[in-house]
């Protein structure tokens, strides 16, 4: 039994108001500590609000910003994930999620996948991160940080889990939409997220901690519905839709070991095969290799073995 109380800080940040949001984060950290939490997770851009546009450069912080250090100082005997706009030395702006532990900034994940389609325009204002890494934590397990859209690419949870994460943390600012979709929550977005988080927890046999904001930026209403999913893919606890608050989930970290013995999917991963196929795809896209999936007559490409196909020359 390795019990851990996780606090989901499902808050509504004030758009562009860094000072107010910093104060609110500090207050919630104190409240969560009093509530017995060992890990507190805040949503994507909880310190700044989401729809910043040109405000992004005005609320950005360097990693040595004293305001971050002050916030980190409130994490004695506590782990917290907070999210903000990070400015690098060469003046790129990133959507960052940081792991704060025991008073220190332990690790920073820069959002890798910036959605720039439909209602999202992140690439216009932000640079993409270049790294996906799990990090050891004071909780005794590896933690993998991801931000919102990072989880809409299958490679993210897979790489983080293979890199040693046993808790996958996704912090999000997911706007509610598609009210007409027929599903149990009455909101297309929420249903999609719930499906994929259960899939990731089960396939990586890890805990998935999802913290999504609430409140309104411009036209968008963020739907909350933060959740903790166990390594079997079953829900541990979920926060309500659209309601602000601090919501708790009690987990037994030993569930990870039990599930990984029972369902050894990670043991059976094939990193070499997968990396080789990625290299092939990259070479093909760069025109350095013939297309082994035979774009024009795809049936062959999907059916025959790769070496046979390559001997045949593909599409050329």
């Amino acid at each position: 039994m390795q019990p851990l109380r996780i606090a989901l800080a499902q808050l509504a940040p004030r758009l562009g108001d860094l000072e107010a949001n910093l104060a609110r984060h500090g207050a919630l950290l104190g409240e969560a500590r009093a509530g017995g939490a060992g890990l507190v997770v805040f949503p994507e851009l909880g310190l700044t609000g989401y729809l910043l546009q040109d405000l992004a450069a005005e609320v950005s912080m360097r990693l040595d910003d004293p305001r971050l250090a002050s916030l980190a100082a409130e994490t004695a005997v506590l782990s917290a994930v907070v999210s903000f706009v990070e400015e690098s030395a060469d003046h790129r702006l990133f959507i960052a999620a940081a792991l704060l532990e025991d008073g220190e900034l332990r690790h920073v994940h820069r959002k890798v996948h910036l959605p720039t389609y439909g209602l999202f325009d992140e690439r216009r204002f932000f640079a993409p991160g270049d790294m996906l890494r799990a990090v050891p934590s004071r909780l005794g397990v590896g933690v993998g940080l991801a931000v919102c859209e990072d989880f809409w690419h299958l490679s993210t949870p897979q790489l983080l889990a293979l890199d040693g994460a046993q808790i996958l943390v996704n912090v999000s600012s997911s706007p509610g939409r598609d009210l007409a979709a027929t599903n149990e929550v009455g909101l297309g977005t929420a249903a999609s997220w719930r499906t994929l988080m259960r899939t990731y927890a089960q396939l990586t046999t890890s805990f998935v901690v999802f913290c999504n904001r609430v409140g309104v930026d411009e036209s968008f209403s963020f739907w909350g519905g933060s959740e903790v999913i166990g390594p079997t893919g079953a829900l541990v606890a979920g926060a309500p839709l659209f309601e602000e608050g601090l919501f708790y989930a009690d987990v037994d970290l030993a569930d990870v070991r039990r599930e990984r013995i029972t369902l050894p999917l990670l043991r059976d991963e094939r990193p070499e095969l997968v990396a080789r196929e990625w290299r092939r795809l990259i070479a093909e896209r760069a025109g350095l290799a013939a297309d082994a999936t035979a774009e024009a007559g795809a049936v062959d490409g999907f059916d025959v073995a790769a070496d046979v196909q390559r001997a045949g020359g593909g599409r050329g």
């Binding site: 758009l15 546009q53 009210l179 007409a180 009455g186 909101l187 411009e218 209403s221």
Partner: protein
């Protein structure tokens, strides 16, 4: 395709929404818009129709009826039944209301009883559409004046169907500080109106811009709202091609006509273009949220 038929109207199955979630989202939206702008009250023009009636209920649900002012702005030829319907909404909600007869302003321009107004003798013969557009703009001007005296933001009451096909007056009924129902098709407005308790008479009656006696939207447009809503939903929300919606059973001539209406109304949904000349231009490469620290009324 099965239609999901309620007692009062036809609700196409694919358009049905979770009204509980919709009310939560809309209430949070209304409160958020007011708070970010530094306002506590709201004002809207109540016509007696379902759109403004629904918005009145939504605003009352979000911030309390005591913070809502409904302004009734009839012209002398406006339907008395519409006014009675509007008054019933005010009575049921218990919100504040004002009556502003816009006739002197409208007649001051178009003239009346054969006596020319500011618009000159030609304007005496202005057709109903010109009159209707001027009235919509006069109502906007009145509403914005009332927004000062009531110290409340103007809430928009246009729905998605009319916005997409351009059945609105630019800078008239489409003008507002924010719009809680602009992403709901008429059929969804009806569904939500039933859920929140808008008077049945308002839900049942045929939608009309009330430009002349007996006018209804559907007779003028030549197709029904459930039909039009479904077409727009498949064409726009679900990105179906013309051929694909025709294969679903829509009439090709109607599809093409609606496509032209949607394309022709694009300008009504956007800010007017400014010739780009300088290094940084609002809306082009100067992009800020509508409300940010320092932007609320203090």
């Amino acid at each position: 395709m099965t239609d999901h038929t309620l007692a009062m109207f036809v609700l196409p199955e694919e358009l049905a929404i979770d009204t509980g979630v919709a009310r939560k989202v809309v209430a949070a939206f209304i409160r958020g818009q007011l708070r970010q702008a530094g306002f506590e009250r709201a004002v809207l023009g109540l016509s007696g129709g379902i759109d403004s009636g629904l918005v009145a209920y939504l605003v009352a649900e979000a911030i309390g009826a005591e913070r809502l002012l409904c302004v009734l702005m009839p012209y002398r030829t406006s339907s008395p039944a519409s006014r009675a319907d509007a008054e019933e909404v005010v009575r049921r909600l218990g919100c504040a209301s004002e009556l502003v007869d816009i006739s002197p302003m409208v007649d001051g321009y178009f003239g009346a009883d054969g006596v020319a107004g500011a618009g000159g003798p030609e304007a005496l013969e202005a057709p109903a559409l010109r009159r209707g557009n001027l009235m919509a703009r006069i109502r906007m001007a009145v509403l914005y004046d009332r927004s000062v005296t009531w110290r409340g933001l103007v809430v928009g009451t246009g729905n998605k169907t009319e916005s997409l096909i351009g059945y609105t007056t630019l800078f008239g009924d489409s003008a507002c500080a924010f719009n809680p129902i602009g992403d709901l098709y008429k059929s969804q407005v009806r569904q939500l109106a039933v859920a929140i308790g808008v008077p049945e008479a308002i839900i049942r009656k045929a939608p009309s811009a009330d430009l002349w006696p007996g006018q209804t939207d559907e007779s003028e447009a030549g197709f029904s709202y459930p039909e039009l809503d479904r077409l727009l939903f498949w064409r726009i929300d679900k990105r179906r091609s013309i051929d694909e919606v025709v294969a679903k059973g829509f009439d090709r001539a109607m599809v093409e006509r609606v496509d032209r209406m949607v394309a022709g109304a694009e300008f009504k949904r956007q800010v007017p273009p400014i010739a780009k000349l300088g290094p940084r231009t609002a809306g082009v490469d100067y992009l800020y949220p509508r409300r940010r620290p320092g932007s609320a009324r203090s």
